[in-house]
Symmetry: C2
Subunit: 262 residues, 2 copies
DNA sequence: GAGGCATACTCGTATAGACGAGTGGGCAAG
DNA sequence: CTTGCCCACTCGTCTATACGAGTATGCCTC
């Protein structure tokens, strides 16, 4: 068994006020912050840490759990514990739905990812009519049924976002919006073609820990929150024509907005 | 020892593929979701769950740890484990910095909280000159020194937000901006009085788990992420006149933005 | 050389036991 | 009645042990 690299980790004080597993977590955290353990590199194994600190394995695992829930490290069964690499971040600009970006043949996600040098994918495509939840219904002006478009976005094979668009059925039925591929410019282009000129979008941003289902769908390591974004699109007559409910891996995104000072 | 309320929790299958502690976590999660355990109410104690499921205490604690890191429950030493109440949420509208909101004598935070029926407080006031970090420096156009204004916001005694404003020293020195209380309308009003008419703000929004320091400062339960918001204020000449770096308890906020469709 | 297997190392799950420390209620002494 | 103590109950920390399961490596066989 390889020893812990000397000088990187010190000793613990069992008589200290601070719990031993917290002291170990502190030392590992500091070593990571200082770059003693680099991004993506392997930490000493549990057995090595047990040896080094002279504590039981559960104590070591406890300290590892602390850092996992902080999102600093992630354990991989059979391989080891690694410093979590910071994934490339996708920046969402506040003008991303501007009309001038809708001319292209490809969706905004694809265009943007290509430009950033990432390999984009979209899967889990499902388009179906359903009864809206109370919340969605209220946002859309209480339609009896809605068209729901579900899809998952991936970058370089990693799922980063899961989104569901809801549209009142009378706007969507019989148009390309009700088909898996809505065509160039996406559903917003189709809505405008149908005479629903878009006026503005309202976005609500929340952050929270993922449900187990969300964690699975986005393959999230523990300690990674999600950004929950609900966007409502309004046409020039003030009618809500679409609600998009999106859950994003928080470590893959930064949202950018511009606010007026007037 | 009180038994677990009958019918709420079933049994576990030790031969199942799914780990026992996950099965227990699943059952507790479902019971909470279904409202069998209400917000703020006490879950069965560890000892009771040990008895009910016929497993060891560490297994029960493990399952409790799962739900804690999901933000669903929080344990209180000596009292029990409780369903985490969802605190009242503060909504930040995208027009919150509009000029018309700066007429009042009180700060936006105070006015808003009063209107919502909460008791607002501001503490940790610190105003001092310092050398900017590389990031802040870049955003402000590389000033040698900046004025930093630190403060923490509380609602009904609960800390919800910690913010630091940075301003180039030449804009702030010798004005009320350099004093703890910048006067009615806040520092933006003072900047405009000094001839720096504000044009717009850029906001960057991220979500992540808190550092230990942040968790302490905001008294965050485990499983509560933070929203990290960096706002840059620009005057009509395009100069960055302030950067505000804010860390918010994610369970206390929802951010609202309006995006143009043009 | 290629394939497959054994093995060592990794983390995951679970048990049993012990003591510490925070909380709150009840009881006894004043 | 009030005060203060004790105790029961709660979660927190830690040890020691065992076995399971995923991964990688190297050797052995073909």
């Amino acid at each position: 068994m390889a020893p812990v690299p000397s000088g990187v980790l010190g000793a613990v004080d069992p008589t200290s006020d601070r719990a031993v597993f917290r002291q170990i977590a502190d030392q590992l955290r500091e070593a990571i912050d200082r770059g003693r353990f680099k991004e993506g590199s392997k930490l000493p194994s549990e057995a090595e840490l047990v040896e080094h600190f002279g504590v039981s394995r559960m104590t070591v695992r406890n300290s590892i759990g602390v850092l996992q829930s902080e999102g600093l490290i992630s354990a991989e069964h059979g391989k080891g514990v690694f410093v979590r690499p910071r994934p490339p971040v996708r920046r969402l600009a506040s003008d991303r739905f501007a009309r001038r970006h809708r001319d292209q043949g490809k969706s905004a996600f694809i265009v943007e990812a290509d430009a950033a040098g990432s390999r984009p994918e979209v899967d889990s495509l499902e388009v179906k009519e359903e009864k809206p939840s109370r919340d969605i219904s209220a946002r859309l002006g209480s339609p009896r049924k809605v068209l729901a478009r579900r899809r998952r976005y991936l970058l370089d094979g990693r799922p980063v976002e899961f989104a569901v668009s809801y549209l009142p059925l009378d706007l969507a039925r019989g148009t390309r919006i009700a088909e898996p591929n809505p065509g160039p410019g996406g559903i917003y282009a189709r809505l405008e073609e149908a005479g629903h000129r878009l006026d503005h979008f309202d976005e609500e941003v929340r952050a929270r820990m993922p449900s187990p289902g969300e964690a699975k769908m986005l393959r999230l390591a523990s300690g990674v929150p999600v950004i929950h974004l609900v966007r409502t699109a309004y046409d020039t007559e003030g009618r809500a024509v679409e609600v998009c409910d999106t859950v994003m891996a928080a470590d893959a995104y930064v949202l950018a907005y511009q606010l007026p000072a007037t």
